[in-house]
């Protein structure tokens, strides 16, 4: 099948039909991986996103970076649906980095679907109208008697023309006015809402997919970089002669810190990509520069280095909690009265959660070819990397090295994980500086230890909780003191309260205060920032209060929601209590809530709202006498509006459950005099396959706008599991990871 186009759908069908003995022949033309459109036939561009070849092949550009969240498949599905394309005919190509054509081209905050759904529908509808216009002209019939489906335009009489036949004339049609476009009735969808395999599955399964780390540029050298073990330190000198004499080493030099690289137009990135001082080694292959790195002896200037100490942070936080106070964020009318009312029952708990790392499976890396300016030709740069916001690296090139952004070409590659880490481009700044100084095209690869030590961590923190329930079993007071971290007086990403958490938004007598401690360790966005820790504290403490009131947890939680309403009408980023109640009840029902559980087992519930998503989870856990616990099943109910790709959506939920469990069970980053104490996976493990629970996913496809699912299924997992452990054992866990309390995930 050399000449035959490789279609994922064909492949899927073939594998399903073939059953046993499937041996599909595969021969990918060299350019098929780069650009699905065959170059042998004429291809017509209908808009920036859609090309149709005369043989009927449809190429759709996927605008946003892919890190495993499935967006490279999801957004083109929306275009194909509105066009009336047959998905079998579609080849998806990752769009070049060109914000003028493709907009923000960023992946973060579970925003890609939310932000792009209507834009993608317009692109598809626009292409469809141009195809119908072409058919009307060629078939000499009225537009109103034509419809587009299965990659054809069909007339009421039954006559039809294929998209391929229409393509070149369609490309000459006037571009429709966006306001006049109409969209398909969702009931007639044939692609949206179905299960579509990720468009890159074939190249991934055969080892042909190209990640940033796989980039190979002619003349390219390889580099390692070594920062001061205490962040903020800089290199004074090192054993350069010894390093340069090692096999495969080409050059070695010091880079000084450079704050200019941290200037960023996107506010949340400002300051984060500052070039850290260190030693670069350039060589003939990755191993040579890694082996040389291990032999480095560096004299560091640590006068401005971090002295962060996790153990001291814990002690200080406890002292702050005992003292009270803090910045007042919200005041309930009678919180102290309710807490001291002897008729009420009260409870207090100090919660803590650690710093955690992203540990993307693909360590950070970046390839840069810096070309010096010559007479009449300005300096230029070509950059290859996996990034959640690839266009942003142009700013680093301009700010740090004076290369004008228009002379910087960025190639965004598939990411071996992102989770927020690849929103920050410190590693790209290093690669640029190394290519600039060495004058060579260079691929910088971090070791796993670099990747952990140099992370922008999920910030740790503490919350001191007090609550009261009235004699009739209702919540009477909620007092929350958040003790987090700030850098130069500004809370770091993910530290603090957003202000729209439960129960505060639906309950009047709540007080919230916040105290911030200084931190020098770098912090960043980690899958559902803020939410992934606040959910643990708040949803655990609501369970504590339900137990104190001797109430059923589902009943107590849904009662808190009150009447069915939007908390902030018209704002999809605010909670809808009715939808919350619906997912809670659905998860409970599907999990068999209320059934009698055997000794040593329990069900635990949690609900959380973030990223415009309502998610409830019920964990079923068994615990033995030695505190070995197994999460047998997690039942999930999600409302993110209509689902675009059912298989992708379920995959995101399954992954969020595993990620959440891995993190709460096993993971903790600690600082000792500034140095990160975990060097590799033997000290910072990731959950292995044997601990994987059954995961039962249910969607309520409400009339919400479709919103993203990369993050919101993660936050409820930790409290669902600890609430289940309480149900099974009576032991309340207020600290993550659970391994610190002697609980072992099996």
């Amino acid at each position: 099948m050399n000449s035959k186009k490789i279609s994922r759908r064909n492949l899927f069908k073939a594998s399903a039909i073939a059953g046993g003995g499937l041996m599909l022949k595969l021969s990918l033309p060299a350019n098929a991986l780069e650009d699905g459109a065959t170059t042998l036939v004429k291809s017509s561009e209908l808009n920036f996103y859609v090309k149709i070849a005369s043989d009927g092949q449809i190429t759709i550009y996927a605008p946003n970076p892919e890190m495993g969240q499935g967006i490279k498949t999801t957004l083109p599905m929306i275009i194909a649906e509105e066009m009336g394309a047959n998905w079998d005919d579609v080849e998806v190509v990752l769009a070049p980095i060109d914000p003028a054509k493709f907009g923000l081209q960023g992946s973060g905050g579970s925003m890609s679907v939310t932000r792009n759904f209507d834009a993608m529908r317009r692109m598809g509808a626009s292409a469809r109208e141009m195809l119908i216009g072409a058919a009307s002209q060629l078939m000499e019939v009225e537009r109103r008697d034509l419809k587009a489906e299965s990659s054809q335009v069909i007339h009421g009489s039954g006559r039809s023309m294929t998209f391929g036949q229409l393509a070149s004339v369609a490309a000459q049609q006037p571009v429709p006015v966006p306001e006049q476009l109409s969209f398909k009735d969702p009931r007639s969808y044939s692609i949206i809402g179905t299960s579509v395999g990720s468009v890159d599955n074939l190249v991934i399964a055969t080892g042909l997919s190209k990640f940033g780390i796989d980039v190979d540029v002619p003349g390219m050298k390889f580099a390692s970089y070594t920062r001061c073990p205490r962040p903020g330190g800089k290199a004074i000198s090192f054993n350069r002669a010894e390093i340069k004499a090692l096999p495969g080493v080409v050059d070695a030099f010091i880079l000084q810190p450079d704050a200019r690289s941290g200037k960023a137009s996107m506010a949340f990135l400002e300051g984060l990509a500052e070039l850290q001082g260190g030693v670069a080694i350039v060589g003939d292959d990755t191993w040579s520069v890694f082996a040389a790195k291990a032999k480095l002896k560096v004299n560091w200037d640590e006068s401005a280095a971090s002295a962060d100490q996790w153990s001291k942070m814990v002690t200080d936080a406890r002292a702050i909690a005992a003292k009270g106070g803090g910045e007042v964020k919200l005041v309930g009318a009678s919180v102290p009265e309710a807490l001291s009312d002897s008729n009420n029952r009260t409870i207090e708990g100090f919660y803590e959660f650690p710093y955690v790392a992203h540990v993307c499976m693909e360590p950070m890396n970046c390839t840069v070819d810096f070309r010096k300016g010559t007479a009449g030709k300005p300096a230029s740069m070509e950059i290859w990397l996996g990034s959640q916001f690839p266009n942003q690296v142009k700013e680093i090139a301009e700010n740090m090295l004076g290369v004008k952004q228009e002379n910087v070409k960025v190639h965004g590659l598939r990411m071996g994980g992102g989770f927020g880490r690849r929103a920050v481009h410190d590693f790209a700044a290093e690669a640029m500086a190394i290519s600039h100084k060495s004058g060579l095209p260079v691929k910088l690869t971090w070791t796993r230890t670099d990747d952990i030590h140099n992370d922008y961590f999920r910030v740790g923190g503490f919350e001191n909780m007090k609550g009261a329930v009235s004699p009739d079993g209702k919540l009477a007071a909620w007092d929350q003191h958040y003790i987090g971290f700030a850098d130069s007086g500004k809370p770091v990403i993910g530290s603090g309260l957003r202000g729209n958490e439960l129960p505060m938004v639906a309950f009047d007598n709540a007080s919230v205060r916040q105290s911030m401690m200084p931190v020098a360790t770098a912090c960043g966005a980690w899958r559902a920032p803020g939410s992934n820790t606040n959910a643990f504290v708040e949803q655990s403490f609501i369970h504590e209060l339900a137990n104190l009131a001797e109430r059923d947890h589902v009943e107590f939680l849904t009662e808190l929601m009150g009447s069915r309403r939007w908390i902030d009408e018209g704002n999809i980023s605010a909670l809808n209590t009715g939808r919350a109640i619906d997912v809670i009840k659905l998860a409970a029902e599907k999990a068999g809530w209320g059934r009698k559980m055997p000794e040593g087992t329990g069900l635990g519930l949690a609900f959380y709202f973030c990223h415009a998503a309502h998610v409830a989870e019920v964990a079923e856990v068994s615990v033995d006498a030695d505190k070995n616990y197994r999460v047998k099943r997690v039942t999930v109910a999600v409302d993110v509006g209509p689902i675009i790709n059912m298989s992708g959506a379920i995959n995101q939920v399954q992954g969020s459950i595993v990620d959440g469990l891995s993190t709460m069970a096993l993971q903790e980053i600690t600082m000792q005099n500034g140095r990160i104490e975990q060097d590799n996976f033997h000290q910072y493990p990731v959950m292995r396959i044997a601990s994987t629970p059954e995961i039962d996913v249910h969607f309520i496809q409400s009339d919400n706008k479709p919103t993203g699912l990369g993050e919101p299924a993660l936050p409820p997992l930790a409290p669902a599991v600890t609430n289940a452990i309480f149900a099974a054992t009576g032991e309340r866990i207020r600290s993550m990871p659970l391994s610190n309390a002697g609980f072992k995930l099996v």
Partner: protein
């Protein structure tokens, strides 16, 4: 530097490298076979799994001088343009998310299936215990291995 002749995916290839260079970097940087991935360098994550004489090994800690048999990587798992049943099953179950670890997962699973054509969940958990998936695709990996085993067995019955 020393010269080594390696059998990789059925081809004999000569490389001139230091004896302690791990097979991983010989494959990736010298032979440009980048399907085998770097994850940790200490045999903890399994991203670098290849076969030597059909046995799954972590290529990130195996010096090239210690390679004792024919090497198979993800690129050579199935002969020519064929797909291995595991690769078909991975596509059918839409297993990958980021995809970075999947070559290693498939290589570990392939070593399992060659010895045990009807693995239980426990067998799969044991054979894949050395392979991290940071995205959490474990549920689908298990299913895909079972599906591939059924392809395998049907294949055998059909001769």
């Amino acid at each position: 530097m020393s010269k080594y002749t390696l059998s990789v995916n059925g081809e004999n290839l000569e490389v001139d490298v230091v004896p302690d260079m791990p097979l991983l970097w010989v494959l990736r940087d010298k032979l440009k076979l980048t399907g085998t991935k770097f994850g940790c360098g200490i045999a903890q994550c399994g991203s670098c799994t290849v076969h030597i004489d059909g046995v799954a090994v972590r290529s990130c800690v195996l010096p090239v001088s210690a390679v004792s048999g024919p090497v198979t990587t993800i690129e050579g798992l199935a002969p020519g343009d064929d797909l291995h049943p595991l690769q078909s099953a991975w596509i059918e179950h839409d297993v990958p998310q980021c995809g970075y670890c999947q070559a290693g997962q498939i290589m570990s699973a392939a070593a399992l299936l060659s010895n045990n054509s009807q693995p239980s969940d426990d067998d799969i958990d044991q054979a894949l215990a050395g392979n991290y998936c940071r995205c959490g695709t474990y549920v689908r990996i298990r299913k895909a291995v079972h599906t591939a085993a059924s392809f395998y067995n049907a294949d055998k019955r059909n001769g």
